[in-house]
Amino acid sequence: MNTSVLLQRVGQVDPTRLEDYVAHGGFDALRRALLRRPEKVVEEVKASGLVGRGGAAFPTGVKWEAVARESRTPKYVVCNADESEPGTFKDRVLMEGDPFAVLEGMAIAAYATGASEGYIYVRGEYARAYTLLRSAVDQATQAGFLGDAILGSDFSFHVHIYRGAGAYVCGEETALFESIEGKRGQPRQKPPFPTTHGLFGQPTVINNVETLANVPPLILNGAEWFRSLGPEEAPGPKLFSVSGAVNKPGVYEATMDVTLRELIEEYAGGVRDGGKVQAVLVGGAAGTFVGPKDLDVPMSFSGLRRVGASPGSGAVMVVDERVNMWDVLLRIARFFAHESCGKCYPCRLGTQRQLEIVTRMASGALRYKDFLRLQDLHATMRDASLCGLGQTAGNAIISGLKVMGMGMSDD
């Protein structure tokens, strides 16, 4: 189902002007939230069934509740705006088109959980989003939507903005904390989880941009409304970044029962030059390739699980038959070797060896021994790596081979 909740103001309002946001219903949700007790706000988010939109799909309300329960202060709300998953650009579109909505979501999260400080960590390459957010924070603080005694209440919340510096792994929440703390952006072993030991070791809510943008409409319209959108298992509006060999690449909003075929053919205008789908990479480089015969699966968790995939960040990259798949796999392998942080052994060494093997295969040398080695690398990185980067670094390679008809039985 097509919805227009998250993108309703994108392209409609001037992202540099607070007044425009307010004239389009901006900060109404924060006003409403402040009239309720914080635990009621948490309850509403829990009841909505909203799950994180960054890729891990953890229930947002559960996260908030855990932080709300912590007595240690200060607590933090961190907005993960380090969008770096290849093929994913929805957060950028939100930040560039409707930056105040992200701030409003953060303020509501802070009120609900008792946090006093907020951080936005914006990807370094997103200069425009950074500039707009900075201006948005200044304006919102000036107008009393952020800062001390917000809207005359006794709730205070100050927001800082950090820029990333070119490291995909900093999208991993604990690596992001390390980065803000002035360290090398290497992930921490979990547990402990951010809800108890997050930024500066304090209880922390960390949510993705799109997740936070869901919060104001959810608070305004209620959990019941939210649940009425899309499938029971994953309600609410979702953004999909569709790109590659399609006629109209872009960010599209739909509920999660939308099918891959609908996204490609109806939303994104079909494959370019009337061509055919060779493969679709769902969920970015960390995601999974789906073959042309599986395009009718819905983009929900259970739907994609049937074909061994998951929605991840909502990235949909279409590879048509004109493209050499080896070149695509080579780029994915290169990406992970380049972005591995180097902390844990399986990923530091495995991504490098994976790249070397895929490079050889792409040049035409297909040896049985290399398929076996790739499989062991995939299994070892998936099972033994410290963070999600390594755990997913072999997914696209192995599933890509499968779509190419070179899958191995024990994958």
Partner: protein
């Protein structure tokens, strides 16, 4: 409170790690980066074990026990990960002075030549002070020396890891030689190095066949020159 490790019922207390619980009943889990005097970093992943119900394997050095957890330290999934990690290590590091790792490799049937066609990082041997030499061809990047130099022991902060991914390495500020760093030559880094990448000068010279007298003589001269310069 108890856990089941490899079919054995092991009584445990809540703060115990899986590694400690296993030791109690004489089950040895391979490990590399963990050291009794240093904060566990859980980065070598050799100690991963299979915890029934967990999505991934878990590092036994930091994972705390939970009542009735069922843990396998020798399942095929565990052995495959351990074997591959050792094969990967051997493909870029000289493990000749790490007998424990070689023994683990044998135990899981690792083929140490399996990835030897890959790129290998090579370094010159840094012999820039009279106290110890650094041979990063033997370095597994366990990070112990950096920890010992920093918050865990000496608070000297001469060392860091530089670079990223496969090209990470132990380094100083802009690759400066040790004497130009904050290093106080305490020797803690040498003491915690598990693979012979860091070595006391005496030990190296002895290996090179110098007599104790000759070593003593040479070291005395080096140190005299060193203090004069400083």
């Amino acid at each position: 409170m108890h856990v089941i490790i490899d079919g054995q019922r092991v009584p445990v207390s809540p703060e115990m790690t899986i590694l400690e619980a296993a030791e109690q009943v004489g089950i040895h889990i391979p490990r590399l980066c963990v050291h009794e005097s240093l904060t566990p970093q859980a980065l070598c992943r050799l100690c991963v074990v299979e915890w029934e119900g967990a999505r991934t394997l878990v590092p036994a050095c930091v994972a705390r026990v939970q009542d009735r957890a069922v843990i396998h330290t020798q399942s095929e999934r565990v052995r495959r990960a351990r074997r591959t990690i050792l094969e990967l290590l051997a493909s870029t590091v000289d493990l000749s002075e790490a007998p424990e790792l070689l023994a683990y490799a044998e135990e899981v049937g690792a083929d140490l030549e399996r990835f030897s066609d890959g790129e290998r990082l090579t370094f010159p041997v840094y012999d820039d002070n009279p106290f110890y030499v650094r041979d990063y061809n033997k370095c597994v990047l366990c990070g112990r020396c950096v920890q010992a130099c920093g918050d865990d022991m000496q608070f000297t902060y001469a060392l860091t890891i530089s670079g990223r991914g496969f090209h990470s390495r132990v380094d100083t500020f802009y690759h400066l030689p040790m004497p130009q760093t904050t290093c106080v030559f305490c020797g803690n880094c040498v003491a915690v190095c598990p693979t012979g990448a860091l070595k006391a000068k005496e030990e190296l010279l002895l290996e090179e066949g110098l007599s104790p007298e000759a070593i003593w003589q040479r070291k005395r001269e080096e140190k005299r020159a060193w203090y004069k310069e400083r």
